[in-house]
């Protein structure tokens, strides 16, 4: 199960909406082994594409090093699909390389409905998991 703060959930969705129709991507770091997504980090989509995303390699190095220095790991790796459902594509599965991460998919295909789903992707196998949003709802 992915347990995530409302404020971080909102930031991920806002990023996905803002970059629509291109795919948005980023990570949420947390203390190693804690499984707690705490530090939201928006990443550039180096592809700037509606159908593909890739972290910029130098930005990724900087962010991964920052996590290393703080004894953090990528607890959540998120990206958006802008015309299809929030389910990992074959491409997503073949490139998934963080077996400890929750892979979050947000679909922005509907302007007024949020699709926010989370998966484990290990050795090419996808397992969906429940998402629990904790904390106060800041929306009016």
């Amino acid at each position: 199960m992915l347990r995530i703060d409302r404020s971080i959930y909102d930031q991920i969705v806002a990023h996905a909406r803002r970059d629509h129709p291109d795919e948005a991507c980023g990570v949420v770091a947390g203390p190693e082994g804690s499984d707690r997504p705490e530090r939201f980090i928006e990443m550039l989509n180096a592809e700037r594409s509606p159908t593909f995303y890739r972290f910029d390699s130098l930005e990724q190095l900087k962010v991964w090093r920052g996590m290393d220095d703080r004894d953090e790991e990528p607890v959540v790796i998120y990206h958006s699909h802008t015309a299809t459902e929030a389910y990992p594509s074959r491409t997503d599965i073949s490139y998934a390389s963080e077996p400890n991460a929750h892979y979050v998919l947000v679909s922005t295909r509907e302007a007024d409905t949020v699709e926010f789903r989370s998966y484990r992707i290990v050795d090419g196998e996808v397992t969906e998991e429940p998402v629990e949003i904790v904390g106060t709802d800041a929306r009016p």
């Binding site: 795919e23 990570v27 593909f52 890739r54 130098l58 190095l61 299809t84 390389s97 077996p99």
Partner: protein, 92 residues
């Protein structure tokens, strides 16, 4: 000559969980051959058919090696190398 190599989580099962290992070589290609001799299997996770795998990022002193000569990039004592799987995907 010693080159420090940072290993990503997904390859640490090949390095007895070590985050950082040391290797040697005059070029990156030689370095990965050297690492593979002590951590069997690691070479093939980084290099394929004599080229860097497309979705593996390798950095030499914080430069993406694709821009500084790829596997032929020359190494000197004290250099540091970081290996990171690219984070990528898409909806197709």
């Amino acid at each position: 000559m010693a080159i420090e190599v940072r290993i990503p989580t997904i390859l640490r099962n090949l390095t007895d969980d070590a985050k950082v290992v040391e290797g040697k070589g005059d070029t990156l290609a030689e370095l990965f051959t050297d690492l593979d001799s002590r951590y069997p299997g690691i070479g093939a996770r980084i290099v394929e058919n004599g080229k860097l795998r497309r979705f593996i990022n390798v950095y030499l002193n914080d430069e993406d090696v694709r821009f500084v000569g790829g596997l032929e990039a020359e190494l000197k004592d004290g250099d540091n190398v970081t290996v990171l799987p690219a984070v990528a995907g898409g909806s197709l």
